[in-house]
Amino acid sequence: MTRKRRAPVPGAATATAIRKSRDLAMIIPVVFTLLIMKPMIHLFGPEPGLAGIPAIVVYVFGLWTLAVVLTAWNARRLNTPETNDPLVMDPQDSPP
């Protein structure tokens, strides 16, 4: 989708896309961790959710699958030669 947009500076679109993917690489595990921990996970209980499977089981495995799919999608976007170029890399490219 970023391809279709006008890119005034060549390479700027790719750099933005890479930065976005990199942010996503941080967001996916953090959000996954938050969702699999207490306040959220407590919303679901042993009551049947989907096809007789308890809601909590559907929730845990559904979340897990979603994380896998998102990571697979994002990893493909990240796996470009540019990502290893130190110049595209953020100077503060390290977690807090």
């Binding site: 595990p29 909590i56 089981v57 990571t71 697979a72 490219d93 390290s94």
Partner: protein, 909 residues
């Protein structure tokens, strides 16, 4: 029940298959067709050594006891892998750049390549892993006994009576053989163990397949879909009310830590990684594997509770459920799955531990022993291989002894999590080392030692329930009855799950000491350097190291050292490759800082950073670490400056490229214009003679009564014009050839003076016709230049005929003189005509531009002569110029050529 012999035969067949696969893998790798083994899929599958028999069998048991809690063991690693970009990628990069051989090596290398830290880490790893190996032995032995029915006849027995030690011993023995054969082919830990990896990948598939098979059987054969299975579940089976407490968080955290810090995980994820990009695939494929492995755990647990007697051991449900349902093939598959998960863990753990033990304990000791003073080529290599093999046997033997001593107690059941917490002690130093420059060796050592002690005290020893080291009274009442120091309620922290309690105390004190000591004691220069190289691994290549460490050594000494460790052939290849890179002839490169750094890294790939450094230090002299340089890279401001300088350089390069492109484009446009000009000129020039030929031919045709004289005159003109046409075409062809030729001319030694005289002689006829006098001025004499005689003569002829033809003077005179000026041979050809007008001077060397307005000769030239002459002189590496006009004088052309040598000058004689 399956007969013991059948089970034995099947397992033996399976083991033989594993050996064959490993052989095949090694062979493929040796013949160079190892693409399959270097695929991201194999990499991901090998990471699944994480799933041991403890998870294969134990997950169901854990689900029976505490519902969803089992999932934490898989969710933790999932978080680490989906967040691979921030930690694993850095670990893998560091591992590859610094040729890290194990987690002990990583920590030691990061904290100044010291030996003591590596020893401590190795010790923790061995103590944590040995019981874990014992657990695998126990699981395999138990499952063997269960499936072959030697112990239980009714599946109801919770305890299996006496374990079969003989079976356990032979299993351990077989694994030792396998590991030695395929795990110690070479000493370079960075060289991938293709055979082992291939076998591990196969085992990963087998265990996944086995669990899925049992799960599918339960869900779709025993029950009518997942809904029915869950309807069998006892009330509050999932225990959703209390399972998500602190234990849920702690276990997730521990599992996440374990997948990074466990020696075997480090081995497969970092050391065996052959391509950083494989991580991109593993980042989602490994979580997917974990998800699939845990998908059917709950259904199997529920079905086990429903169909098996109440006393049945839930830890064996995966195996006993198919047996109870008389599904013998399925039971056999499940058995093979458990067998696979146990053996793969033991093999990889043994490789990882043996590398650590031999590199960080045996080697440093051996190098200090005075009697191990061998100097033969490859001696250290042999010693290393031997110590690796011995370490493998030792580790397995320790595991076996441990199993033998504690097999009857339940102490083993919880060892999985205990081991997780043991290796979790590496985490603060590891994370700190990767992201915090100030982290120092002292801090790491203090934190690790304290965490290790607390782990032993609060979790490891109490887990034996009074049978080992710590008596029961101490566990219950604290040492000497001091309840304040009670191992499982330390400092009065009661009412806590023992695991969470131990996790809290050991890791928080570990982290606290690590941070405080690091802040108080500044890191030493080498630590600082390594810290900077590790923290900024994406920006500073390892070669940078040589910028900071200055040391000197003799290449031959280094070679002796290298061949002792690597063997003669590898060392020779390494040295001659580097010599070639340096452009040095022979096989010994210059022993500069860069080479010593490179060699140290290569050796570190075999013996670990600490030993490699110690050995290099024996050979080199005058090691200093340049503090100024170091401060530069440590200083973050400098980093930013460096970074923006890099940017500047890059944008400068871009600008340059853009300018070059613009220039090239401009040149192309001009060439295009010139081509158009040339074409129109050519057609114009061709048109003039053509027109006169046509019109005279027409006159001849249309006037039949023409006089003979007139006919002759007209045909003469036609002949002349057509000759001119031919000449023009010849010259165009000549010029095109001159301009188009890519190959330089082969120049020969030529006497230019003689060539000049012959040219003048040729022009005599023309000169006397035009009553022009040709005079010679000063002459150089005997000289030789490199040129082509015919072409040079062509230039002379062109200049002289021009001077004759266009000389408008009443007493035309041409003066020719030759001189030597600054290594150049010059010929001046001057006439006394009216010269060339100022506005024509610029373009006389262009095509079809005649410089002279009038000519004595009716046959005017083609306008290509000077252009051709100019081209020729360029090709002869000389020049042709029109000298500035001196009022009153005619035109003066100068031909210059570089000259070679002067023979004796005629003038001097």
């Amino acid at each position: 029940m399956l007969s013991g012999n059948l089970v034995f035969a099947v397992s033996l067949g399976y083991v033989i298959l594993l050996f064959l696969v490993a052989f095949w893998g090694d062979k493929k790798a040796r013949t160079g067709s190892s693409a399959l083994f270097q695929s991201p899929l194999i990499y991901t599958l090998s990471i699944s050594v994480y799933c041991t028999s403890w998870t294969f069998y134990g997950a169901v048991g854990s689900a029976v006891r505490s519902g969803l809690e089992f999932a934490t063991i898989y969710i933790g690693p999932t978080i680490v892998f989906i967040g691979f970009w921030y930690l694993l990628r850095k670990l893998v990069r560091i591992g590859r750049v610094h040729r890290i051989t194990s987690i002990a090596d990583l920590l030691s290398s990061r904290y100044g390549k010291g030996e003591s830290l590596a020893v401590l880490v190795t010790l923790i790893a061995v103590i944590g892993t040995t019981p874990y190996i014992a657990l695998q032995l126990k699981a395999v032995t138990n499952s063997f006994q269960v499936i072959s029915g030697t112990v239980v006849s009714d599946l109801a027995h919770p305890v299996f009576g006496d374990p079969d030690y003989t079976t356990a011993f032979w299993i351990a023995f077989g694994m030792a053989i396998f590991t030695i054969v395929f795990g110690t082919r070479n000493i370079d830990a960075n060289e991938r163990h293709h055979g082992v990896v291939a076998a591990i990948a196969l085992e990963a598939l087998v265990k996944l397949f086995a669990l899925l098979a049992v799960g599918l059987f339960v869900v779709f054969s025993l029950a009518d879909g997942p809904g029915e299975v869950f309807s069998w579940a006892p009330p509050d089976f999932l225990k959703t009310e209390d399972v998500f407490g602190p234990r849920w968080v702690s276990l997730t955290f521990l599992a996440a830590t374990a997948v990074i810090c466990l020696p075997r995980q480090f081995q497969v994820t970092v050391v065996e990684n052959s391509d950083e990009r494989h991580l991109f695939t593993a980042s989602w494929m490994f979580p997917l594997y974990l998800m699939l492995i845990s998908l059917f755990v709950l259904p199997i647990a529920i079905a086990g509770l429903k169909f098996l007697p109440e006393t049945a051991n839930p830890d064996m449900f995966v195996l006993t459920l198919p047996m109870a349902m008389n599904q013998h093939t399925l039971a056999l598959i499940a058995f093979l799955g458990g067998f696979s998960s146990a053996t793969s863990m033991v093999i990889v753990a043994c490789i990882a531990l043996s590398t650590m033990v031999s590199n960080h304990i045996v080697m440093p000791l051996a190098l200090r022993l005075p009697w191990i003073e061998m100097k033969a080529s490859g001696d250290i290599r042999k010693l290393l291989l031997f110590s690796r093999r011995a370490s493998i046997c030792l580790v397995l033997l320790l595991g076996f002894i441990y199993f033998r001593l504690s097999a009857k107690s339940d102490a083993l059941a919880s060892i999985g999590l205990i081991a997780f917490l043991g290796v979790a002690q590496f985490l603060p130093s590891l994370i700190g080392g990767l992201y915090w420059r100030q982290a120092s060796a002292k801090g790491a050592f203090a934190g690790l030692a304290a965490g290790f002690m607390l782990w032993l005290y609060t979790l490891f020893f109490p887990s034996f329930e009074g049978q080992f080291v710590m008596p029961l009274s101490v566990i219950e009442n604290g040492p000497w009855g001091i309840t304040f120091l009670q191992p499982q309620a330390l400092f009065g922290l009661t009412d806590m799950d023992p695991l969470v309690h131990a996790l809290f105390w050991s890791l928080s004190i570990n982290t606290f000491l690590f941070v405080i000591v690091s802040v108080i004691f500044d890191p030493k220069p080498l630590e600082r350097l390594q810290g900077a190289l590790f923290v900024d691994v994406f920006r500073t290549p390892a070669d940078n190291e040589s910028r900071f460490i200055r040391r000197y050594a003799a290449s031959s000494d280094l070679f002796v050292l290298a061949q002792r460790i690597l063997g003669t052939n590898t060392a020779y290849r390494l040295f001659s490759d580097f010599a070639k890179k340096q452009g040095v002839s022979g096989h010994l490169p210059r022993a500069d800082d860069e080479f010593i750094g490179h060699l140290e890294r290569e050796l570190a790939g075999s013996v670990g950073a600490a030993t490699a450094r110690a050995m290099i230090s024996q050979v080199v002299k005058g090691e200093t670490i340049s503090l100024d340089e170091l401060m530069k890279i440590v200083d973050e401001t400098q980093q930013v400056i460096d970074y923006s300088r890099q940017l500047e350089v890059k944008s400068h390069q871009l600008q340059q490229t853009a300018r070059q492109l613009r220039d090239a484009n401009e040149r192309l446009k001009q060439l295009d214009l010139q081509k158009d000009d040339f074409l129109s000129q050519v057609s114009h020039e061709l048109r003039t003679p053509m027109t006169s030929i046509r019109s005279f031919a027409q006159i001849l045709l249309e006037t039949p009564d023409m006089t003979v004289e007139e006919t002759q005159r007209f045909t003469g003109i036609i002949l002349e014009e057509s000759m001119r046409l031919t000449r023009l075409l010849d010259e165009i062809l000549d010029l095109a050839r001159l301009e188009g030729e890519q190959v330089p001319w082969v120049l020969q030694r030529v006497d230019p003076e003689e060539t000049l005289e012959r040219a003048v002689e040729t022009c005599h006829g023309l000169a006397s016709q035009a009553a022009t006098e040709i005079r010679f001025g000063d002459r150089v004499g005997d000289i030789e230049v490199k040129a082509e005689a015919d072409r040079l003569r062509q230039v002379y002829l062109n200049l002289i005929t021009n001077a004759i033809k266009y000389n408008t003077s009443d007493t035309p005179v041409i003066t020719i003189r030759t001189t030597l000026e600054d290594d150049r041979y010059c010929v001046y050809i001057q006439d006394n005509g009216e010269g060339i007008r100022a506005d024509d001077r610029e373009r006389i060397f262009k095509k079809f531009s005649r410089g002279w307005r009038e000519s004595k000769d009716s046959r005017s030239g083609t306008g290509l002569g000077l252009a051709i002459s100019w081209q020729i002189m360029q090709r002869l590496q000389g020049d042709l110029e029109l000298l500035p006009q001196i009022p009153g004088d005619g035109a003066c052309f100068r031909v210059t050529l570089p000259f070679d040598s002067i023979k004796t000058s005629k003038a001097a004689e």
